[in-house]
């Protein structure tokens, strides 16, 4: 669909007659084939014969079993190596946990004897506010105070500190690892080419697919959860780092060469500091994605807020689940704003800061704050009851939320149900039937045609291989169901998101509100709103679609707003001078010029939609997400990984085709 939409945007004059006829011809052939598949094509082209299927899942299972049980480097086995890594990583995690949650103790388990308490809530509160004040002045200090107060008043403090402890370890490790890989990519294009597909996989293969092998290799517990989190959160950091390094002005690179820097000096004294502002964007992504993983991490022993969300929803305690979920959002927003402030400060530069710091210089300020924190900690040591936030100061709005959902349910269910039935019967069911009816060979041909038209031979071969992989591992039907569900959801998300994005681009105040809403939607665990949606719409594809749209609409809005806003002012002025109306300005100038940016937003929307598959499997869809989930429940490593790779294949095909399309569009518009 996206390709058709893309083609439609091209000015008709640039097409030759033959290529103008290509897509209508494809469309007509598709229509004929979907109406009567059996009559034109031999059976093997419609349904893949069972004998053609490759038993890849079996091979992978055998390989993983070997890797976990037998692989050895002579002196030590592979598993001993990974366990060693886990042991190393457990140190910082244990320290962070002891500081924030459990306190220091001798021994372990129920026989542990406490010797020092964790930092009490008021000390953490003070540290957070001080950091906020230092980085962003009074507004940020107030924001931090408000966020932490939410955690305290709604009784989320203890769980939030558990989650914070693991984020405080995972996020720096992810950022540092991403930075190092980014430097390697910058130095060696060959390394970058080798790493790039692995990054694609790490971002698109659902975590559930490789969870079991990770548990075997790194042990069951918070460390495994952390490693899965880092694997998921690191790729954007690498990508952002490479882009940031490339953007370092040529003069600086030349200067480095002229002054005779060693490679080490050049990297750490020139390259990294000059790219710092760009790098902070990557850090920000790492923080957001780390908090995205909180729920899954809690399933494998990380505990914290994720566990509270799961337990509450299991009891159908929607209000409690929402409060715990919002606590995750609060943490995400606080950490994000702090990191952004840090980025801004580093942009202004160190020298500047020293001059403007006023009464307290940086070092003295922190000495004072840390001394105060130590004193507060000592107070908790001497009077333990002080460290507990009084229960009578806490409150919960859980019962109101529950009452609200119940009220909507009792009063509006019939109206909602009628709407759902309408969408289901007129949109979802026909599309689903159409997608499942398509002969697999024809789909391969269409994908290849798109690849060839948009990017040439190399792209054709790549997308063809990815499509064939899906067909040959025998997951065609779940893959088409995936395509149907994600495709419809992406279209709906685009139909909602692009207009909102356009409106936001021209109305600053609206954007402020929308930004908060989409930040919340992206960090609030989707499980929190999934259950109320089930209550109102029952299980099924419609519910899954709403959940996907809610999660995936954010980039459609963000990129559109960004793109439309970024139109060069000269062009706008030229438009006004030529007498364009507001509508014409939008449709003739702003939108066409923002089209590449909007396409990239669409690309991100598709990625997020695919990443929701595992969650929608929880409301009973039958797509690749369900396949991954079933494999997890049957401890079938190979099956899970193969299904995960199919998700990745779909993501990569979409990404490459849209990327090539956006590039062509840019070239034509003279933007590249």
């Amino acid at each position: 669909m996206t390709i058709d939409a893309l083609e439609a945007r091209r000015p008709p004059a640039s097409r030759s007659a033959a290529s103008a006829l290509l897509w209508p011809a494809v469309l007509a052939a598709t229509a004929i084939l979907s109406l009567a598949p059996g009559s034109f094509l031999p059976d093997w082209a419609v349904r893949l014969p069972a004998g053609w299927k490759l038993p890849i899942a079996g091979y992978i299972s055998v390989f993983m079993a070997w890797l976990v049980d037998q692989a050895s480097f002579g002196l030590f086995t592979f598993r001993e190596l990974t366990r060693g890594v886990a042991w190393l990583l457990d140190w910082p995690l244990g320290l962070a946990k002891a500081m924030l949650v459990s306190g220091f103790a001798i021994g372990q388990g129920s026989q542990a004897v406490p010797i020092a308490p964790p930092l009490p809530w008021y000390a953490v509160f003070m540290l957070g506010v001080a950091l906020g004040w230092r980085l962003g002045g009074r507004p940020l200090a107030l924001l931090v105070a408000g966020g932490l107060a939410y955690l305290l008043i709604f009784g989320q403090w203890a769980s939030a500190m558990t989650t914070l402890a693991s984020v405080l370890v995972a996020a720096p490790l992810g950022a540092a690892g991403g930075l190092l890989l980014g430097i390697l990519c910058y130095r060696s294009p060959r390394f970058e080419r080798a790493l790039s597909p692995l990054l694609d996989l790490a971002q698109t293969v659902p975590v559930f697919a490789y969870l079991v092998p990770i548990l075997f290799l790194f042990g069951f517990g918070p460390v495994s959860a952390m490693i899965a989190t880092i694997l998921y959160a690191l790729p954007p950091m690498v990508r952002v780092a490479v882009v940031a390094f490339r953007a370092v002005p040529e003069e600086i690179v030349v200067l480095g060469r002229m002054t005779g820097c060693t490679r080490h000096q050049f990297t750490w004294k020139m390259l990294v500091p000059s790219a710092r502002a760009g790098l902070m964007v990557g850090v920000n992504q790492v923080i957001m994605l780390t908090l995205n993983m909180v729920i899954i991490a809690s399933m494998i022993g990380a505990g914290g807020l994720g566990y509270d969300v799961l337990t509450a929803l299991r009891r159908l305690d929607i209000g409690r689940g929402l409060e715990a979920g919002l606590a995750i959002t609060v943490l995400a927003i606080l950490l994000d704003r702090l990191a952004q402030a840090m980025a801004r400060q580093s942009e202004r530069g160190r020298v500047h800061r020293k001059e403007g710091a006023g009464r307290l210089t940086g070092r003295r300020f922190w000495l004072l704050v840390l001394a105060l924190a130590a004193a507060l900690w000592a107070a908790a040591f001497l009077a333990p009851p002080l460290a507990v936030f009084p229960a009578e100061w806490q409150l919960s709005t859980a019962s109101y939320w529950e009452a609200m959902v119940r009220w909507i349910n009792v009063n509006f269910f019939d109206a909602l149900d009628a709407f759902k039935s309408f969408v289901l019967l007129n949109l979802l069911v026909p599309v689903r039937r159409f997608m499942l009816g398509l002969p697999w060979l024809w789909v391969v041909v269409v994908v290849m045609l798109a690849g060839w038209r948009l990017g040439g031979l190399r792209l054709t071969v790549r997308v063809a291989l990815a499509t064939l992989f899906i067909a040959l591992v025998g997951l065609w039907e779940p893959a088409m169901l995936t395509l149907y569900l994600c495709g419809v959801s992406v279209l709906v998300a685009a139909a909602i998101g692009i207009p909102i994005g356009i409106a936001c681009a021209t109305h600053r105040r609206l954007w402020k509100v929308v930004e908060i809403v989409i930040d919340t939607l992206q960090t609030l665990p989707s499980f929190v709103y999934l259950i109320p949606i089930v209550m109102l719409f029952r299980v099924g594809d419609f519910t899954a679609m709403i959940a996907i749209v809610l999660y995936a609409v954010a980039p459609a809005i963000r990129y559109t707003a960004h793109g439309v806003q970024g139109t060069a002012p000269e062009l706008i002025e030229a438009g006004i001078a030529n007498g364009c109306t507001r509508g014409q300005l939008l449709s003739r100038i702003r939108l066409p010029l923002a089209a590449p940016q909007i396409l990239l937003g669409l690309n991100q929307t598709i990625m997020l939609a695919l990443s929701m598959l595992v969650i929608t499997a929880l409301v009973g869809t039958r797509d690749l997400g369900q396949e991954v989930y079933i494999a997890l429940t049957k401890a079938d490593v190979g099956r899970g990984i193969v299904a995960g790779l199919c998700v990745a294949a779909i993501a990569i095909i979409a990404d490459r085709l849209i990327g090539a399309g956006a590039q062509r569009l840019k070239n034509r518009l003279g933007l590249a």
Binding site: A98, A105, I106, S110, Q111, F220, R314, F413, L424
Partner: protein, 317 residues
């Protein structure tokens, strides 16, 4: 052992001269026995009862939050040691696979029986008077229909991963129903809650021991009782051509553990094997937590106080 050493090191750097207290009683190893906690109340109660009993016997116990199915990876490697509730109805395959690998041991029945069957709220009896007999269902198919399934009735099954042969059952018994699968049991009960609030028609897969059949008034559908032959022999039952023309089997809830448990903590092993509790007793405890809002810890402590003779009997003499 590694973490043990590490904590010791970590703490001795910070505080000097704190003595490690002697273990409370003679146990085989002071390493913590890691007991898994899942996300449903019944399991939290049974895991805590077992854990607290072991603590009273002097064992070092650690509770670890873990996913019901992902925990098998930990049980196999010995990172986790004890899972108190593996339902024959939902976890049998994973358990069998673990036992076959030799790294997981089935520690016997908990005494609870997993019941699972089609279930409907009591108010449906007015709309469909023939219930709970399964034969009444076809006459009421319209009552249970939704726009997507009409004219067939809609039956909400469990997650695909639970199996259950409902599609086969519908076919073999000639029921005019469509099976729709919920993805998780949270989704399953969300639908029930929603329908119950509106007194709307619903028939779905419910299992016990669980808070739902305690909180909501309703009944199990009476299918021809399950016999092994029903699932294997088409000739059995009302439909001579198809199997599955009967209700669902009931199965025990197992205890499972790391296979090294037996050698490392023999005393704890025998106590775990002796653990027994039945459906009614568990149902009462679960409803105190889920319906009366008591804390799991409080309910468990209360149970321990009232049943001291019983759990002391589990411990080796």
């Amino acid at each position: 052992m590694v973490t043990h050493l590490k904590r010791l090191l970590l703490t001795s750097i910070l505080v000097l001269g704190t003595a490690v207290p002697a273990a409370q009683a003679k146990v085989e190893s002071n390493d913590p026995i890691k007991v898994t906690l899942h996300d449903w109340t019944g399991q939290l109660i049974s895991a805590r009862i077992m854990g607290e009993v072991l603590k009273k016997a002097g064992y070092n116990v650690d509770y670890v939050q873990a996913d019901y199915l992902a925990q098998f990876a930990g049980l196999k490697t010995g990172d986790l040691h004890l899972a108190m509730e593996i339902w024959a109805t939902t976890g049998q395959e994973a358990l069998d696979e673990g036992v076959k690998s030799g790294k997981v041991e089935n520690l016997g029945e908990t005494g609870m029986m997993a019941i699972e069957e089609w279930w409907y709220p009591a108010y449906m009896k007015e709309k469909c008077p023939g219930l709970p007999d399964w034969k009444a269902f076809n006459a009421c198919a319209k009552e249970f229909a939704t726009p997507e399934t009409a004219p067939k009735g809609r039956y909400l099954g469990g997650p695909v991963t639970w199996g259950g042969f409902d599609e086969e059952r519908v076919k073999a018994l000639g029921l005019d129903y469509e099976v729709v699968h919920a993805g998780t049991d949270a989704a399953l009960f969300a639908e029930l809650q929603s329908a119950y609030d509106r007194k709307a028609p619903i028939v779905l897969w419910i299992y016990a021991p669980h808070w739902a059949p305690i909180k909501f008034k309703g009944e199990w559908v009476k299918f021809p009782a399950y016999e092994p032959a029903c699932y294997t022999d088409p000739k059995w039952g009302s439909n001579p051509d198809l199997a599955y023309d009967c209700g669902k089997p009931r199965g025990p809830i197992w205890k499972a553990g790391w296979s090294g448990l037996k050698d490392k903590w023999p005393g704890a092993y025998s106590a775990i094997k002796s653990f027994k509790i039945d459906n009614d007793e568990m149902g009462a405890l679960v409803s105190r937590v889920d319906l009366d809002g008591e804390k799991v810890e409080a309910v468990v402590d209360d149970w321990l106080a009232k049943n001291e003779a019983r759990w002391k009997g589990w411990l080796p003499k």
